[in-house]
């Protein structure tokens, strides 16, 4: 498995995938506080034209919360980009047949799947941490993070949502033949869950709720309110992994 992990690392670096993703997440990390910082200036620049339309702008108060609001608005986009870029991680190997020499050397399919899963979970974690860390750093420098409640709980819950999406991606990668099928499956499942969470009863335990970190920051909710969502996400991740191992073992390469 270690050898295959090393191969994944080399693949990510040499195909430029890791650099692109790192760039995107770093940019997002910087953008959140930058946008917050720029808001008053933007408002001022626009105030004259806004006044013409009858809108009166007053002094805008920005703080760490404005930046965190940006963070929770942007991170789903970051996740979508991540999924788009890694959607071919398995299927490109099926299409080209590059796994055949590997499997026929006696490396177990389990090891291949495990290495890829570890790598995907790991890279989501690292990229997310980088984005969060940058925003956190800037916020602490410009304002005060103390204004936001349950900061780390909110961040961890959104991270769990990402893990849940990656688990879906791995499952669909184990059963599909092409990256478009993977995207359709993962996107469809995530969108389905998102739409279902419109119903408050379902929302209470669907993973989609984990994305709404702002409720926690504003202390509208407490971390304990999310136990059911975390448990459901955890179960689904587990189920996805078990099914993936089963399907990948029987997959025609």
């Amino acid at each position: 498995m270690n050898a295959f992990l090393k191969k994944e690392w080399m693949e990510w670096n040499r195909t430029g995938r890791s650099w692109i993703l790192m760039l995107v997440f770093v940019l997002f990390g910087i953008m959140n506080p930058a946008l917050a910082k720029l808001t008053p200036w933007l408002m001022e620049a626009l105030s004259d034209s806004l006044a013409d339309t009858g809108l009166v702008t007053t002094a805008v108060q920005v703080d760490a919360m404005t930046s965190w609001a940006q963070f929770y608005k942007n991170i789903p986009i970051g996740l979508i980009i991540f999924i788009l870029i890694v959607s071919g991680n398995f299927t490109a190997e099926y299409e080209k047949g590059t796994l055949i020499p590997v499997i026929t050397k006696g490396l177990s399919r389990w090891s291949v799947l495990a290495a890829k899963a570890v790598f995907l979970y790991g890279s989501w974690t690292v990229l997310y941490a980088v984005c969060f860390g940058i925003t956190y750093g800037y916020n602490a420098y410009f304002w005060d993070n103390g204004i936001a409640g349950n900061l780390f709980f909110a961040a961890a819950y959104t991270w769990v949502f990402g893990i849940w999406t990656v688990a879906l991606l791995i499952f669909f990668s184990a059963v599909s033949k092409s990256s478009s099928q993977v995207l359709l499956g993962t996107g469809g499942a995530a969108l389905g869950v998102y739409l279902l969470s419109v119903f408050p009863k379902l929302d209470a335990f669907l993973p989609a709720r984990l994305l709404r970190g702002l409720d926690l920051l504003q202390r509208a909710k407490s971390p304990g309110d999310y136990h059911a969502n975390i448990a459901a996400a955890g179960l689904m991740v587990l189920l996805c992994m078990v099914l993936s191992v089963g399907c990948f073992d029987r997959k025609q390469l």
Partner: protein, 298 residues
Amino acid sequence: MKMLSLSHVAKNFGEKQVLRDVSFSVPEHTVFGFVGQNGAGKTTAMKMILGLLPVNSGEITVDGMPVRYGNTPTNRFIGYLPDVPEFYPYMTPSEYLRFCGEISGMPAKETKSRCEELLRLVGLEKEKHRIKGFSRGMKQRLGVAQALFGRPKLLICDEPTSALDPAGRKELLDILTAAKEETTVLFSTHILSDVEHICDEMAFLHEGKIALKGSLDEVRKLKKASAVTVEMEYPEDTKALRQAFPFLKAAGKNSLLLEEAERLPELLHWIADRRYPVMRIERQEADLEDLFMEVVGK
């Protein structure tokens, strides 16, 4: 000792029956030719030996162990060269071979020496570029190196010579012959001269069944007595000969083909009695090509 055996293996893809009833075995330290037309099911059979495709019925064993679809432990004994080998394009050949050593759990020191040895064997030792820009022939060479890497007990090559130029083909056949000392080779092909050059045993796959199998000599003996061509000096003699022996077939100017070679003495007697001048009497060489044609019924 049998390295590989297939017994009553059948495979269908939906309605299409690809293999009906395939049974053969490959003894240790032989080069075994697996011959058949394009689409005869050679690749399918090989993929089943590797556990890459499920069998519908029958059993396959490698070194006495049954092959399972999916994760098969028998793959530890096998080196495989696919018909169109594909490798990670961002690696160099030596990086790829090192990766092969790592996934098969070979110690680092041995991996390094084996890597150098094999790159030299296939003539890629000076190649420092990434696999991305490789031609099919170069990939084929690397394919041979990776297949031999773990010193497999059984080497399976799927049409290894089809992408190579004549020189490369000769080299590859030499490599396979040399590999016989250490391993057992099963290779598929539709190029019969390759079989004649290097195989000890062979099997013809036709219409989902093994139509012929055995050692090269045995298979050759199966061929009926070869046809004989008789060429006469004068057209009128040819005509007379043909009238006397209506089963002769015309085979060009003044030439006649005798398919039932056992009647040759009769024919010669007749010619000798009449003192007809003969240009040439030639027995046609029995080669695998004819045999192949006979088997496939064309």
